[in-house]
């Protein structure tokens, strides 16, 4: 028996509140990050990802308090992303209690930020988040490029080149989101996931498109993902994390039960 594949619920946080409709019927305040985190912890989540989508500059510090509160009560790994622009931002999140910090757009603007952050805090806490879209025409060998601004703005950067470069710079993990699949419930882009996972020596978290439990299994068995991230299937109570793990275990995947 070896390392378990991880199941990671992802929460969007705006001005310190969980948004995008987490709907646990029996939770008093579904907008409270601590209550939601506690619920997923009880269900057996292997890690949690908090994505700060606060737009206003003034609201930026709210995520720090969220991380402080959650890390005081929930003793599983916590990744925080969104709005990380400088090495100091990484330090602030780690000090608040985050274990890993996700860097996305800032790495595109200044790739060396990843190197500086990894040098200072260690590769293990630097997650490079990648938003990818397929850009090849039908019949061509598949190619994917990095997009920013929620998948709207193309960068012209090839995804495979990018993740390999980020690994060299000291990224400890890749959080890979298919912008083609995000929100579709059609399942992960398995070809993308497999291409990325097989081209780097660091762990890859698959994200974007999960609509059912077989999708999680496919992400691991066919996508070669080291971890699978999902939001809506857990938030809306369609499945608990525990049910997802049981399903994966029944499919022969090693999970922490």
């Amino acid at each position: 028996m070896a390392l378990a594949k991880r199941i990671i619920p992802c929460l969007d946080v705006d001005n310190g509140r969980v948004v995008k409709g987490v709907q646990f019927v029996d939770i008093r305040d579904a907008g409270d990050p601590v209550e939601v985190a506690r619920r997923y912890d009880a269900q057996g989540a292997d890690e949690l990802v908090f994505l700060d989508i606060t737009a206003s500059h003034e609201g930026r510090d709210t995520i720090v308090h969220v991380v402080e509160q959650v890390s005081s009560e929930i003793f599983i790994p916590l990744t925080v992303g969104g709005g990380i622009r400088a090495v100091d931002d990484v330090g602030r999140m780690l000090k608040a209690g985050a274990d890993k910090v996700g860097i996305n757009t800032a790495a595109i603007i200044d790739p060396d930020l990843v190197r500086r952050a990894a040098d200072k805090y260690g590769a293990q806490c630097i997650v490079v988040a990648v938003d990818a879209r397929c850009v090849s025409a039908e019949g061509e060998l598949p190619r994917w490029q990095i997009y920013t601004h929620g998948g709207r703005k193309e960068t012209g950067i090839d995804v495979i080149d990018w993740v390999q470069r980020m690994e060299q710079y000291g990224a400890g993990e890749i959080l890979l989101t298919s912008m083609d699949r995000d929100g579709t419930k059609d399942g992960f882009d398995l070809e993308l996931t497999r291409s990325v996972s097989d081209s780097v020596g660091i762990p890859v978290i698959a994200s974007g498109g999960v609509g059912s439990l077989p999708h999680l299994v496919d992400g691991v068995t066919r996508g070669h993902a080291d971890a699978v991230l999902a939001a809506s299937i857990f938030h809306y109570g369609e499945y608990s994390v525990g049910e997802a793990k049981q399903f994966m275990a029944a499919a022969g995947i090693e999970v922490r039960l």
Partner: protein, 213 residues
């Protein structure tokens, strides 16, 4: 009152460690500190850390904590976590190599880029996530921990302990490696009890009650 010092030498997330200790021992005094006096006064000491061993050793020397640690493990219960376990050994091969505290004989080696499981699948480095622990000793720190329980690991280097009788637990990642060591007053783990949910808290609770033997 039971008191514990969490050694702060600038390496990693100490808040989780201190909060987890407060969680299991609400009546204890938990202090995150690099003050040698506070560390010397505490009943027990936790030595956490993530990151690179050479930087950690440089910080310990700069803060004059290296000799303090060598002395205090002779006197009181001491828990090393992750980098805090690795630093107890003789030397590491990270970034060109460095000497460590030399309290326990052994080295700290890299997993390497060509690690594979039994079926030949390449294994990712860092070893990141929940792996099973095989217990090698009956030890007060393992109270309530069933063999084969999973703990959260995140590391690219691992300890090669010279004295087999100090190995308290092993884990498999393309081959067996030492995941926990035990010696008088010393217990050290490669995984993160403060991030390993209920079972991790159990180990911290055990530590808060351990007499070091």
């Amino acid at each position: 009152m039971n008191s514990v010092a969490v050694i702060d030498y600038g390496m990693g997330n100490l808040r989780s460690v201190s909060k987890a200790l407060e969680h299991v021992s609400p009546d204890a005094s938990v202090r995150v500190t690099n003050d040698p006096k506070v560390i010397a006064e505490s009943d027990r000491v936790v030595f956490p850390g993530v990151g690179a061993l050479p930087e950690a050793m440089a910080e310990l020397k700069r803060l004059s904590l290296d000799k303090l640690i060598i002395d205090l493990v002779k006197e009181k219960p001491f828990l090393g976590i992750c980098l805090g376990m690795q630093a107890l050994f003789d030397s590491g091969e990270e970034n060109g190599g460095c000497d460590a505290l030399g309290i326990l004989p052994g080295t700290v080696n890299h997993f390497g880029q060509n690690r594979a499981d039994k079926r030949g699948h390449r294994l990712k480095v860092p070893h990141m996530g929940w792996s099973m622990l095989d217990l090698k000793q009956d030890h007060p720190m393992w109270h309530g921990v069933a063999p084969g329980s999973r703990f959260y690991f995140v590391h690219s280097y691992f300890v090669v302990a010279e004295q087999a009788d100090t190995i308290a637990g092993v884990c498999d990642y393309g081959g067996e490696f030492c995941a926990a060591v035990a010696a008088p007053n010393i217990f050290a783990v490669q995984f993160h009890p403060e991030k390993s949910q209920a079972l991790g808290l159990r180990i911290l609770d055990n530590f808060m009650q351990w007499n070091g033997q």
